[in-house]
Amino acid sequence: MSRLLKHESILAILTVLALAILAMQSDKFFTTDNLLNQGRLMSEVGLVALAMTFVIVTGGIDLSVGSILGLTAILLGVFWKNVGLPLPVAIGLAVACGSLAGFVNGLIITRFRVPPLIATLATLALYRGLAEGISEARSVRGYPEWFFFLGQGDILGIPVQLCLLVIAAITAGVILARTPFGRATYAIGANETAAHFSGIRVNATKLWIYTAAGFLASIAAVIFVSRVTTTRSDMGTGLELDVITGVVLGGTSIFGGKGTIIGTALGLILIQALKNGLSLSGVKGDGTIVVIGVVLIVAILASAIFDRNKGG
């Protein structure tokens, strides 16, 4: 336990530091409005990052989450507008499809033993391609007002998706840290063979995890559509970068076996704070991508150095 907390403590200190610096730099930062808005903006990445934590802890990776988001968004539009289903049904069906996409990832990885890297690289193309092909780059608009509550509304002053994120994070955190499923996840990442030999259902666990990634990506899609009031086939492009950076920054080892939801949460907050700070200083969206990329490389470098010092 103590080893884990060391990384999280450093991270927590860094986060507080970053927030303090940003607060000093711009008086627009530390307002309730801004903070809540940032919370709203990071919810989509946050939800997916919860599942991605499990994925990376098992030693795998999922590059297709952004594509699943895009595909779900498109399917939502198609089911509602083209097929004419009632919106709630369309939403449910779209989420089911997104989860199925995650399940297919898991199947390719467990049943066919394809390395997660290449499997999800292929499905990244496939799912995005399906999204492009189905939508033919046309966007869908005109959703009913009530739908926008999810992405733009508040409950007791707190953005809806932020509430959702917090509940999901607590659930995920408890599952990972306190349940047999969580213990199995860690074991699989640390030594899959020993886990298998100890009677842990390795394939079933992995299937659940990849399906969850698909599920959360599709929920994120619904929230996203609700927030921007339209669906487009390029939604979620680059999502995997933000998600993986957040998870890795949060202390989850890319080699598997280590990581916590708290760490991921802190990592996400740090990144969002960074993005916010940059935009408040006038840096445009593309400059932000550069910074995130650098952060990813530095974070993984630091983790590699620290792991080695521990005699890893």
Partner: protein, 327 residues
């Protein structure tokens, strides 16, 4: 007795059977290209016109060139998902230098050197710090992409000097990119077959510990591979830059995926240790052909990415099944 049966698998076979066994994947790709030409050509003869042929071969040669470097990286057991962004950066860099009055050779040389240095650094991080290449190159992808758009604001570069425009020249009626593609592929193939370093790439990718035990230096090999990859990406970037009269200063969509897929379909196994650059060149031509075929068959071009994804999946699944059976 199984052992006897298995021993007989080591028996000498005819040269032809052996050739097909070792290069089967490349042959399949070649045959598919021929098949496509025949089928689509008979459906719509304009498919076989000179303009279209030029468009297929000359217009996509840069992908094949980039795929050469990518194949080397994958054979050595790694991957680079940032190659598309790198090519975008190279192209913009070259174009900017060209229109800013620098000598043409500077506009050609500097971006390529940049690519070699950056990629060699990535290789060093991967080899010596033992960081998985997927993560480093994922980060690189953003750094390059974001950097490109931030620096240029997406502006287009036009009016480049004719002396700079490599891709526009023609020799014997065929665009120079085709010559680049053919010559570079052949050179790379020869290098991979006949040089000590080339063979060490296969060894390191096939079984790193055995390679070390055999006296090779896996770390240096990996850095070298990434440097070479940088060279090919640089050249590909130059070809890409000079294809049209304008450089769009954006990252060409799908590019890294196409390049990786070309290697994988061309017979380079994602697990490392095997594959040829000739195969990846064939595969790059195959995609160009498919892309063009979709247009001539009136299939929406929006399905291209799905096709790529399905092709990678199919090839990798077959590779996995083949490996499970032979071990």
């Amino acid at each position: 007795m199984t052992d006897v049966v298995m021993s007989s698998r080591g028996l000498q076979r005819s040269s032809l059977r052996r050739f097909v066994g070792n290069y089967g994947q490349e042959l399949v790709v070649l045959l598919t290209i021929v098949l496509l030409f025949v089928v689509v050509g008979s459906y719509n003869p304009r498919f076989l016109s000179e303009t279209n042929m030029n468009s297929i071969f000359s217009g996509n040669a840069y992908i094949a060139v980039a795929a050469i470097g990518m194949s080397l990286v994958i054979i050595s057991g790694h991957i680079d998902v940032s190659v598309g962004s790198m090519i975008g950066v190279i192209a913009t860099m070259a174009g900017t230098l060209a229109v800013s009055g620098y000598p043409v050779w500077v506009a050609w040389l500097v971006p390529v050197v940049f690519s070699v240095v950056v990629n060699a650094s990535v290789g060093a991080l991967v080899a010596y710090m033992r960081i998985p290449s997927i993560v480093v190159t994922l980060g690189m992808l953003s750094v390059l992409k974001g950097g490109l758009i931030s620096a240029t604001g997406g502006a287009w570069i036009t009016d480049m000097p004719p002396a700079f425009m490599i891709s526009q020249w023609r020799i014997f009626g065929i665009g120079t990119p085709v010559y680049f593609m053919v010559v570079l592929t052949l050179l790379a193939a020869l290098y991979m077959r006949f040089s000590g370093f080339g063979r060490s790439i296969y060894a390191v990718g096939g079984n790193m510990e055995a390679a070390r035990a055999a006296g090779l230096n896996p770390e240096r090999t990996v850095v070298g591979v990434f440097a070479l990859h940088g060279l090919f990406a640089g050249l590909a970037g130059l070809l890409f830059a000079t294809q049209l009269q304008v450089i769009q200063s954006t990252v060409p969509p799908n590019l890294e995926l196409t390049v990786i897929t070309a290697s994988v379909i061309g017979g380079v196994s994602i697990l490392g240790g095997t594959g040829t650059v000739i195969g990846s060149t064939f595969a790059a031509i195959l995609f160009a052909t498919i892309g063009s075929a979709l247009i001539f068959l009136n299939v929406s071009a929006y399905w291209l990415r799905s096709v790529l994804g399905l092709m990678i999946l199919a090839t990798v699944l077959v590779d996995m099944i083949r490996r499970r059976r032979s071990t």
